[in-house]
Amino acid sequence: MAEILAFEHVSIAYDGRAGRQIILNDVSFSIGAGEALGLVGESGCGKSTVALATMRYLPRGMSVIEGHIRVEGRDTAGLSDQELSRIRGNRIAMVYQDPMSSLNPVMPIGKQLMEVPLLHGETDEKAAFSRAVQMLEEVRLPAAEAMMERYPHQLSGGQQQRVVIAMALMAEPALLIMDEPTTGLDVTIEAAILELVRDLRAKFGTAILFISHNLGTVARICDRIGVLYAGRMVETGQIGTVFRGPAHPYTRGLLGALPRLSGGGRRGKLRPIEGTIGAGDRSRIGCAFVPRCSFAVRHECEERPIAMVDLGGDHLARCARLDAIRASVKDEHDTVATAAGSNAPIVLRVRKLSKEYKLSSFFGGEKKGVVRAVTDVDLDARAGETLAIVGESGCGKSTLARIVSGLLAGTSGEVKLGETDLTKLKVDDRPPEIRRQIQMVFQNPDSTLNPSHSIAYALSRPLRMLRNLASGDAKAEVSSLLAQVRLPAEMAERMPHQLSGGQRQRVAIARALAGNPELVVADEPVSALDVSVQAAILNLLGELLEQSQLGLVLISHDLALVRHMADWVAVMYLGRVVEYGPVEQVFSPPFHPYTEALLRAAPTPDPDAAPPSAALEGMMPSPTEIIVGCAFASRCPSRIAGLCDTTPPPVRQFGDHRIACHLDLGGQVPVAPGGLTEMRSSTS
């Protein structure tokens, strides 16, 4: 097998004001023709530096200080600028996370695609045009010729990424580097793109370097995997070998930290990897993982460089304690199942809730249409239980969360906390007592805390405002709040920028708990965090829930996380709840076709999992469209023509489990047709 890309003991350093910093340390791997290597690791581990170094695109100040990078056998260090640019365009192509950064917003995509052959020697415009059309068809974009005239902003995110992939493949490169190509996309779109990449790879025989933080996507695409930690390759091997028998404690940690779709018990303990990559870890002589490793032994792990150990069968790991680790634990996943969805008292009752935005023209006069963000939603959040709301972006889950927390007002329906109707009561108008009862945890750890104020401020203000504590009492209470989220009391003096993302999210949780609320709405609380940190936060939330009667409304797009955390699940699509029920029932048949599609699309870090048969086609309709029948009809693989697109689906009830669907799902008790609102008759 011809080697397309080889890293041979490559070290890369950054020389800055603070002196030399090692970014990559003795990294070796190779990719043969047609092979796909997945490179995984937490943020800051040096994944993207590998990609940049391959293209010799290292930012200023960064340089290869040791080793060789060979592309098709030639050392890139010795190449002239012309040779280099020939390689960049012809032999190696790159696909980045954000497609808009690779597309020119003022040029039709056809023209951009045609540029590739025209720049690389093709002179015939017609030939270039037909190649471009052909390639758009290859990436399965509909109406390829018409697509040529479109501008990037006229395409959806998934379509843009397809265009970028088409552009990358135009020059028939030997190597395709994909840096988090599906990270910003919804699961169903992601699944379709991954399927496409797999098919194209089979067809064109392109080698792939696939960089991702998501073990599930890597499992779906790659033959081999390389695990990077603090700039060092800690483990490489065949996907199956590594996933079934991870050798390095870091790899074991990454796999153990993931919540799984395949059950494993609700809110069982995940195994987070404690701590984060420290500033000094990159320059350690021995193993960089020592500060976070429970197997580390001083003299073996810290005092001398650790070599890659060959475990046979193309499986290598850089660890001095492999034997000790193998001899210890077998089962990585605790399965401490707690009792499932009981019928605890209802804290929050949502009935027929709708939210509409009227679009008006520039001068405010004539109406241009109505955006229906949330339509006729019925839900209950119970004390001491977690209600998860899942769905892809644009399904209305965040809008729903913001109405409950009072940051938006609903248009119609009711949101009742006890006897108080909160639908139109924005948070500024809510009485203090109500405000105390519903608090929120936000998604983005970078903006959840005010960068100008200390942690003590962030926690003492809510204590003073919501519990009327005097400033002295509030100060004392701050440390107990910090302890509740497992942070040391000294943290109070710090500024947010001195905390890691996970720590900031802990503070945000403490802030939400400050007023002893009855309900906390958490909008994607861990989606911006690394896997290992995510696990620690989920464990924390799990413990807090167990210790109190707190109700949690968890907004998420991650089904595995929902499976792990929730007692009740509502699946939303286009502003509507299409399926609702206790978690085990929602995650087992009968399914709403959309739930089924989501479950199929969710990437699982399991090399044996069957690839999803058919990814969901099409896109979610615009929320301005008037939907007569079932909202999902336009994408449903099993729609019944003439029924699903004309008549609202009946609600089928299986005890507490409800599905809004025309399909005869078996064993159901159909209620008279009339939409989800009929659910009300059974619960109120």
Partner: protein, 301 residues
């Protein structure tokens, strides 16, 4: 509840504590760091500092009285050992007049700019945070003020109310506030949608508290940069007013006034015009350099 997680390795904490901004000493340290990091900022800071020190210690530093007329000196007004920068058409020592003039400009300009910053910040916060009709009114009134050619606005107001230090400050405050309001409004529009503002609303903070405690501190970067830029522009404006004869009434030494008094004799005694002009330029350049340096430093993070 026993296990405590230290996500940050102990080594890093010490480094961070060094640059803590919460103490005044830390703040000065930080300013010093920023200034030494950008050479252009250092030059600007040095120019401003020199003029400020000269202005503060004018009575001790200035070799002569700025208003002392000595007709005998007019025979040879050029720079000499006794009068380093020469004397003007009335025989007054130019260096002393510059030093005393620095007092005027360095009192009037910062006061005026500070006034503009206070007024503009308040209006900008209000417009950005409240939005809707409040925003529309504040910004349209501001636009109207900005639509006037500035110098004509100055002349109209000063012609009506007379030339005094207070009126000059008031005029500059009024005409600069809309620009600062616009900057602050922009920052506010961005920040008011951040999650920490939502969190403040969820605990029931008042709008004023959110505007001044949650939002304003995060706008201080652009505001400080703009303060020094505007200090430069205002120095020019004061110079222009002096030159047009509506500045501070004589015999107060005023750089613009000095240019005006001497420019008729520019071909005879050029130094009488050029030297005060250079003084104005140096202050403007100093303020601009400092603003640039601060911006560079803030981009560095």
């Amino acid at each position: 509840m026993t296990e405590i997680i230290h996500d940050v390795p102990a080594g890093r904490v010490g480094v961070i504590r060094d640059s803590a901004q919460s103490t005044p000493a830390g703040l000065f340290r930080r300013i010093y760091d920023i200034l030494t990091r950008s050479p252009i900022g250092t030059i600007g800071g040095a120019i401003l500092l020199t003029w400020t020190l000269l202005a503060i210690f004018a009575p001790w530093v200035a070799p002569y009285s700025p208003t002392k007329i000595d007709p005998e000196l007019i025979a040879d007004p050029y720079p000499s050992a006794q009068h380093w920068l020469g004397v003007d058409h009335l025989g007054r020592d130019i260096l002393s007049r510059l030093i005393w003039g620095a007092r005027t400009v360095l009192t009037v300009a910062p006061t005026a700019v500070l006034g503009a910053v206070i007024l503009g910040t308040f209006l900008g916060l209000l417009a950005g945070y409240r939005g809707g009709i409040v925003d529309a009114i504040i910004m349209r009134v501001g636009d109207t003020l900005l639509a006037f050619p500035k110098i004509i606005l100055y002349l109209i107001i000063i012609a009506k109310f007379g030339a005094s230090a207070f009126n000059i400050i008031a005029v500059i405050t009024l005409s600069s506030a809309p620009i600062i309001a616009r900057i602050v409004r922009g920052v506010t529009l961005d920040i008011k949608n951040r999650d920490y503002v939502a969190a403040a609303r969820m605990r029931g903070e008042s709008a004023l508290f959110i505007m001044f405690v949650e939002i304003l501190p995060n706008a201080r970067g652009p505001l400080i940069v703009d303060f020094f830029l505007r200090l430069g522009y205002t120095t020019i404006a004061i110079g222009v007013l002096g030159f047009l004869g509506v500045g501070l009434p004589p015999p107060t030494p005023d750089w613009g006034g000095m240019v005006k008094e001497a420019y008729g004799m520019i071909f005879v005694w050029p130094h009488m015009t050029i030297i005060p002009s250079l003084a104005i330029s140096s202050l403007v350049i100093g303020a601009n350099f400092l603003a640039t340096g601060l911006r560079e430093a803030s981009l560095d993070g």
